[in-house]
């Protein structure tokens, strides 16, 4: 056990799984870097550093740098998974999903069903998500709803280094295709992370804070914001439960309902525009299965129905803030 950043936790999970199972390979753009050039090969460790040191240990056979061809990357990873490897493919930014979405939603997600249960596609697609880096409309999206809606995919969205490692190891050992979303804004976050490999099962929420007056459900980079709002509310004696589902598909409906049963009030925080969002998804689920527990309207705190703006002041206003979360909570407390 030692303090590790979110980035280090990802790196460690990749390294340990690659050591454990020679079928695990990485494929994507500039995972290695420097092929054909005059300097160091593999020095950068990937565009954000998640692959630091891996090339030295695993070499070019298992760390596959590709052309800028996302459809071929995901398709090749899918075909490799279908025939016995356990590829971990990377989309440098989740925003690039648009050029390869067919391979994700029509191919890999549907193989097992279309082929009558005869296929197994143990594929992980890692992608970075989230705003806050002033990277503007095409490099700042979160897009988990896009994957959550697709039957056949699982979707993990770690909110801290501990979960980052445990969910990634689970994703790699999982026999179904998993979308693993890394929040760029959390890369530097630190916490205690066990040195040995461990898995966090999918579909099991994490209760970060117990409370009895109100439930806040948040995912990924919204979790620390929800916690800040909860801390603020606590100053006024309001007891808030903060719940992180950790995976959006499967979703731990039970824990959410359990919490709402206790508190009767729900705020869902989602880093995405509001329409057909995960916030709506959870609110809709609770409005059915948890209706009898509800003492107040369910509030959704999301980004606005706009692309992500570039200017820092606009981008800061774009993201759900602790204050907005707090206000939403107060609006449904008597």
């Amino acid at each position: 056990m030692s303090k590790k950043t979110y980035l280090q936790a990802i790196n460690e999970a990749l390294r340990q799984e690659m050591r454990r199972d020679s079928k695990v390979i990485l494929i994507g753009e500039d995972l290695v870097g420097g092929h054909g050039a005059t300097g160091e090969v593999g020095g950068a460790g990937g565009p954000f550093g998640q692959m630091r040191g891996l090339y030295k240990e695993f070499g070019a056979d298992r760390m596959i740098d590709t052309p800028i061809s996302e459809s071929a990357i995901i398709g090749a990873a899918a075909g490799a998974a279908l025939t016995g490897l356990r590829p971990v493919a990377e989309l440098m930014f989740v925003d690039f999903v648009g050029v390869c979405f067919d391979q994700i939603f029509n191919q890999v997600a549907k193989f097992r069903y279309m082929f009558g249960g005869n296929a197994r596609t143990p594929l992980v697609i890692r992608a970075t998500i989230g705003a806050g880096k002033r990277a503007a409309a095409q490099h700042s999206q979160t897009l988990h709803p896009l994957f959550t809606m697709v039957p056949g995919l699982k979707v993990a969205m770690p909110s801290n280094p501990y979960d980052a490692k445990g969910l990634l190891i689970q994703a790699i050992r999982d026999d179904d295709p998993v979308i693993y979303l890394e929040s760029k804004s959390l890369f530097g976050m630190e916490c205690e992370v066990p040195d040995e490999p461990y898995r966090i099962p999918f579909g099991e929420a994490n209760i970060l804070r117990e409370g009895k007056d109100l439930t806040i459900v948040a995912l990924g980079a919204m979790v620390p914001r929800a916690e800040r709002a909860a801390a603020e509310l606590a100053k006024d004696g309001i007891s808030v439960e903060v719940l992180d589902p950790r995976t959006t598909s499967p979703l731990d409906e039970e824990s959410i309902l359990e919490s709402v049963k206790k508190t009767g009030r729900l705020v869902v925080v989602d880093e995405s525009p509001p329409r057909c969002s995960l916030a709506a998804d959870i609110a809709g689920m609770v409005a059915d299965k948890g209706f009898k527990f509800l003492k107040a309207p369910i509030k959704q705190v999301t980004c606005p129905h706009t692309p992500v703006p570039f200017a820092p002041i606009l981008e800061d206003a774009y993201l759900p803030s602790p204050t907005q979360i707090e206000m939403a909570a107060r609006s449904i407390l008597d």
Binding site: A72, G79, L85, Q107, M114, G117, D176
Partner: protein, 323 residues
């Protein structure tokens, strides 16, 4: 020809099986026994059989919406196919896939694909597995001439070159993508030219004759198995019928349709082999009647088979395990 009598029999049997199977699919479709959209392989039999002739169950193919011929050529059981195409529980995919999604992984058939250009990237991945596991096996990616305009296919070509994997791209140029000709939709003259632009060798082959297809494929296999990287074939052939079963084909003249039949690969094979006195009329007839029987049995079995049960089957097999 350099093929043994057994090999010649097998080649003819496979081609004839595709022919009879597909004609029967048309018939059963018209009779209302086959639901949905179906694309048959009539006229192209020599392509699939020539390409798959030397492949084993451990070699992979990725197919298209017009996949029945590829399946049969790869050795997939026609009864399982007919069951699937009729949507029966005991079909190859439990009735969930149908004509456009037939797959048989145990036979190395990675699936028909209803997305044009969907298969080639997947085949590159199957080839990557062969490379890393050093199996000496290959993957074949089938596309049509229409599919040769889809971005995913170009990406797959380039990716295959960069990763240096044992994949063979087969472009079946049957002159049409749906109702539009290859000459209209394809900038440049030959698909082969664009393939070569990626530094990949590509042969243009007459796909109305089994022998040149098989020979080109032998060169392709020698190349890829010799770790020389990917290889491609543009196989020129004729689509005898419409794009889908039931297509009225107003865009093709009667004359064109009649002329296409002059390129029938099946009598051509029979004639060549007969003239060389390698197989007798009796032998051909025996193959044909055995094939007819097989297809009859497949159809009878499929017609009698049970449909899946929504209560148990609808939500099954989405995941291996969903928490």
């Amino acid at each position: 020809m350099q093929l043994s009598r057994d090999e010649l029999k097998r080649a003819y049997e496979r081609m004839f099986l595709i022919r009879v199977f597909e004609e029967r699919v048309e018939k059963e479709f018209s009779a209302g026994n086959i639901p949905g959209f179906t694309h048959v392989y009539l006229g192209q039999e020599a392509c699939a059989v020539g390409v798959c002739f030397e492949l084993t169950d451990e070699d992979y193919i990725g197919s298209t919406h017009r996949g029945h011929g590829h399946c049969i050529a790869k050795g997939v059981d026609v009864e399982g196919m007919m069951l699937e195409i009729m949507g029966k529980a005991s079909g190859l995919c439990g009735g969930k896939g149908g004509s456009m999604h037939i797959a048989d992984l145990k036979k190395g058939m990675l699936g028909a694909n209803a997305i044009v250009g969907g298969s080639p990237p997947i085949a590159v991945g199957a080839a990557l597995t062969q490379k890393l596991n050093k199996t000496g096996r290959v993957a074949v990616a089938f596309s049509g001439d229409g599919g040769a305009n889809q971005g995913t296919v170009f990406e797959a070509l380039n990716m295959a070159m960069v990763l240096h994997v044992p994949v063979i791209f087969v472009f079946e140029n049957n002159e049409y993508g749906e109702f539009t000709t290859q000459s209209y939709a394809c900038g440049g003259v030959h698909i082969a030219d664009r393939v070569r632009g990626f530094g990949m060798p590509c042969e243009v082959v007459d796909g109305t004759d089994f022998f040149p297809v098989r020979e080109a494929m032998q060169r392709a296999l020698e190349h890829t198995r010799g770790d020389k990287g990917p290889y491609a074939l543009e196989i020129q052939c004729k689509r005898f019928g419409g794009h889908y079963v039931g297509d009225p084909q107003v865009y093709r003249s009667e004359k064109e349709l009649v002329e296409a039949r002059a390129y029938d690969p099946i009598p051509r094979f029979r004639r060549a082999v007969s003239e060389a006195a390698l197989l007798s009329e009796a032998e051909f007839n025996e193959i044909e009647s055995a094939v007819q029987d097989r297809v009859d049995i497949a159809v009878q079995s499929a017609l009698a088979a049970l449909a899946p049960d929504p209560a148990t089957d609808l939500t099954k097999h989405v995941y291996v395990k969903y928490a």
